[in-house]
């Protein structure tokens, strides 16, 4: 029986570039921005890094193939650099490579860095791209909003929810994230919005309006990981450790099998249960201090509250409208603005979520710092679409939590 990752690996340093429409920056520059912050935070030099993982999701634009772009941009000392791609969950995947390598004892210090340069496409939203030879013959080349909007139709049918009630809860989610993003100097979107503006916005993919969709951004984020012992040797007193790191990939059951009704994420439920078991959490609604979830669309955040076993099935709308996930609520969700407002440079997003949890755990989150001494932060990083996806759940926390 595997013993799990809990407390085997520490995070002595993290960094994150300013997200947004970075017309000024190449992917290299974004990586350097995040990397320098992390090196300084960890108090190490490049020569101390034993191995690195680079997460990027898009091939057609961005940095091109292989781990070489990170190796060159950061002038890494000819160490192994591995490029990983797992849809929008690539960032957490990069961290997993780095964390598992440290835990194995094969390396002392590893780097996970994610970057995406999306604003070279010439249009808004994610690039249209192939999903493989067979898929392109028999699949639907829909947009990301169109793929996720389908959750709403199925959720409404399953829980007998009116369009108006669902729109209201989704709008609350977006208004909350905009309020949070406004306080975050690194966020892409920093303007608070009203319920009215959300509800009156043009429809992108029914029932998702403009403000139900996250921004598409340029950005980079990174983590340096090592053993708790080395972290202490580096002079760290408050040690943030990895409590759980789980990824569940669809095996085709949702899209091809029988039983899934389209209203939830099968993989997230699995990854969350495994992560709670790995970290020893038995009552997530009571034990988790902070949530960073993959709010690519407001409806994704809504159903994810249930899939993470925080809200009861069918209960997310009530919890959202109660303010449970607001910045001053019981479990703040997207206190940094989330994908919605911090932005979504795809390959960096999973690391950006952990970056916020890391800052909050260490009391370094500035204007948006939670004052209740958060101990465990969960991040949920999703790639793909509801009917076929990769769901990653990472839990980080103070060493004694």
């Amino acid at each position: 029986m595997a013993s799990g990752i809990k407390n085997k690996v520490a995070i002595p340093g993290m960094g994150c570039a300013r997200f947004g429409e970075r017309w000024d920056a190449e992917a290299d520059g974004l990586m350097v921005e995040a990397y320098q912050e992390a090196l300084e935070d960890a108090g190490i030099e490049a020569a101390q890094i034993d191995a690195a993982w680079l997460s990027v999701a898009f091939d057609a634009i961005n940095v091109g193939p292989s781990g070489i772009p990170a190796s060159i941009a950061l002038r890494l000392p000819n160490i192994p650099v591995t490029k990983v791609e797992n849809y929008c969950a690539s960032g957490t995947e990069a961290l997993r490579g780095a964390v598992y390598t440290v835990a194995s004892g094969a390396a002392d210090i590893c780097l996970a860095i994610g970057v995406e340069k999306l604003k070279d496409t010439g249009y808004g939203g994610l690039p249209v791209r192939t999903r493989g030879t067979l898929f392109d013959m028999i699949g639907v080349v829909g947009s990301a909003p169109g793929n996720f909007a389908q959750l709403a139709s199925a959720y409404r049918a399953r829980h007998d929810v009116s369009r108006e009630d669902l729109k209201q809860a989704m709008a609350h989610i977006s208004v909350k994230s905009h309020a949070n993003g406004a306080k975050n100097p690194k966020a892409h979107l920093r303007k608070p919005i009203s319920m009215d503006a959300v509800l009156k916005a043009p429809i992108i993919a029914e029932p998702l309006g403009l403000f139900d969709c996250c921004g598409v951004s340029d950005g980079a984020a990174c983590a340096i990981v090592t053993t708790p012992e080395i972290a202490r040797a580096l002079g760290k007193s408050d040690i943030v450790t990895v409590k759980a790191l789980q990824i569940a990939a669809s095996n085709g059951w949702e899209l091809q099998g029988a039983g899934w009704d389209g209203s939830y994420f099968h993989t997230t439920r699995i990854a969350a249960s495994r992560a709670y078991e790995e970290s020893g959490i038995t009552a997530p609604r009571d034990e988790i201090s902070l949530l960073e979830v993959h709010d690519c669309f407001s409806v994704t955040e809504l159903v994810t509250m249930e899939d993470l076993h925080i809200s009861p099935e069918g209960g997310a709308i009530a919890d959202v409208l109660d303010g449970m996930f607001d910045a001053d609520g019981r479990i703040p969700c997207q206190i940094d603005g989330g994908l919605k407002c911090f932005g979504h440079p795809v390959g960096a997003s999973g690391l950006r979520m952990i970056y916020e949890n890391y800052l909050q755990l260490l009391g370094r989150a500035g204007d948006r710092q939670r004052q209740d001494n958060p101990k465990l932060g969960l991040s949920h990083n999703l790639g793909g679409m509801p009917n076929q996806n990769v769901s990653a759940v990472a839990i980080v926390g103070l060493e004694d939590a």
């Binding site: 010439g122 013959m137 829909g142 169109g146 389908q150 049918a157 992108i204 029914e206 899209l255 099998g257």
Partner: protein
């Protein structure tokens, strides 16, 4: 005795309101007011003569074991491929056996009826019935009369040497290079000569002469003809030909001009199918198609016509309609106006032909897989089945899904994804008896989307690779009932 054993038809759901088109065009060509009444059928951007032939073929094969089909003929002057067997695509989509002959017919307005006559003449002694389909989706120059009078449709006849609902009495052909109109091999549109000359020298001499000769040769009294099927785009021509040939005026069949339009080489067969729907047993039909001469077919219906299982047919497919009153949208669907489609339309759709061949059953015939151990159905087929209760490898059997009703599980109307007919409607469906897929919806509006709605699968164009002029076909889902 050789005859027609079954028939089917397909008309695209969209009908161009001719008055709406005239409202956009009348300033330029006021003479169009003469044809500005009623509707014409209009293929969607994702329909062509191959997809319409498939739909007509499915209708015709209602209750017919497809394994028995021995031959497939396909007639069109608007087939999508000049060199790729169009009938071969129809054969794949209908999931017909590989060991059958197929042929493409073209070259003029007689190809549809001509193919049917050939099928009838070949029927004796062949192995299995011949499926004879005709479909047409011709482009007409914007602002032309043909743009308003043409229609798009597909029609199919199943021919065999026994169990006929209509037996062949006689056939006769006349071939003359009488050029009433022409379309050069690479040209997009027809070029037409004066109608009065076509009427006087063409219809009333060449066609009528052929009809009279056919009747005389067969020893059939013109007065005994109960149904006279004679497509002629100009008004009054069929009546004049009937009168001259001695055929009763009440035998002249409805040209379907008011609600369908003139469907080119498919039209004589369309009108024949329409006659078969209405005429009953023991009736004599004379069908003729004019074009570089004339083809004539005389048939007599049998008692079996009354026991044909129900089908959509001409009447059913004409009743399935939505009115298109946006002339610009009609033009855009036909590729006749270059609207700004945005960068999302630049998506590369090059088809690897190797992969199409390997997956042809899944892609063209919507054949999935079924575990013989658990009965689980899936799409597409895979080496390791999705139902893990069956852990065998490579054992799924073919399981056709195209004719199964599917029910909507999830849906959206997407304004962001590029489609020639926005918003893009898509979602997941689950088939009756198992199996599910993510699918595009067609022939419906956004407000018609509902979880649980029963859907019928439709063979459609998936995408067109404009750089290489290749088109991908696949299946979409349309409401089973409206």
């Amino acid at each position: 005795m050789a005859g027609i054993v079954s028939f089917g038809a397909y008309v695209p759901r969209r009908r161009l309101d001719r008055a709406a088109a005239f409202a956009a065009l009348g300033w330029f060509n006021p003479a169009l007011s003469a044809v500005a009444k009623g509707e014409r059928s209009a293929a969607g951007w994702d329909e062509d003569s191959v997809t319409m032939a498939v739909e007509a073929g499915r209708d015709c094969l209602t209750g017919v074991d497809r394994e028995t089909i021995g031959r497939l003929l396909f007639a069109s002057t608007s087939a999508p491929f000049a060199d790729r067997l169009n009938s071969g695509i129809v054969k794949e989509a209908l999931n017909l056996p590989d060991d059958i002959a197929t042929l493409d017919f073209s070259g003029g307005q007689r190809a549809g009826l001509g193919a049917l006559i050939q099928s009838l003449q070949l029927a004796a002694g062949t192995s299995g019935p011949t499926l004879c389909v005709a479909a047409e989706s011709r482009s007409a120059r914007p602002g032309s009369e043909a743009e308003l009078t043409n229609g798009d449709a597909g029609v199919a006849m199943l021919v065999d040497d026994r169990h006929a609902i209509a037996e062949m009495v006689a056939a006769h052909s006349v071939t003359v290079d009488f050029v009433d109109h022409f379309r050069a091999a690479s040209a997009p549109y027809d070029y037409d000569w004066e109608k009065r000359w076509i009427r006087d020298e063409g219809y009333l001499k060449i066609a009528e002469g052929g009809i009279s000769a056919a009747l005389e040769k067969a020893g059939v009294d013109p007065q005994s003809i109960d149904a006279f099927v004679f497509p002629a785009p100009a008004k009054g021509v069929a009546e004049a030909v009937a009168k001259k040939a001695g055929i009763r005026p009440d035998a002249v069949r409805d040209s379907l001009a008011a609600g369908l339009g003139y469907t080119g080489t498919a039209h004589a067969v369309m009108m024949l199918a329409h006659a078969l729907e209405e005429i009953g047993p023991g009736k004599t039909i004379l069908a003729a198609a004019f074009g570089s001469g004339v083809d004539i077919l005389i048939l007599k219906t049998t008692d079996l016509i009354a026991s044909l299982p129900p089908r959509s047919g001409v009447t059913g497919s004409l009743a399935r309609r939505t009115v298109e009153s946006n002339y610009i949208r009609f033009l855009f669907a036909n590729g006749q106006i270059d609207l700004d489609r945005g960068m999302r339309a630049e998506f590369e759709t090059k088809q690897p032909l190797t992969a199409l061949y390997r997956n042809r059953k899944a892609v063209l015939a919507l054949v999935g897989g079924r575990s013989s151990k658990t009965g689980s159905v899936q799409f597409p087929k895979s080496d390791i089945g999705v139902d893990l209760q069956d852990d065998s490898v490579g054992t799924l059997e073919d399981y056709p899904l195209a004719e199964r009703t599917a029910f909507v599980l999830t849906h959206t109307a997407d304004n962001l994804t590029y489609t020639p007919d926005p918003p893009a409607l898509y979602g997941m469906v689950e088939f009756e008896g198992g199996g599910r897929m993510n699918v595009e919806f067609c022939d419906m509006e956004q407000d018609d989307l509902a979880v649980g709605r029963p859907m019928r699968m439709m063979f459609r164009i998936k995408s067109i690779d404009e750089q290489r002029q290749f088109r991908r076909y696949f299946w979409k889902a349309a409401p089973a009932v409206y």
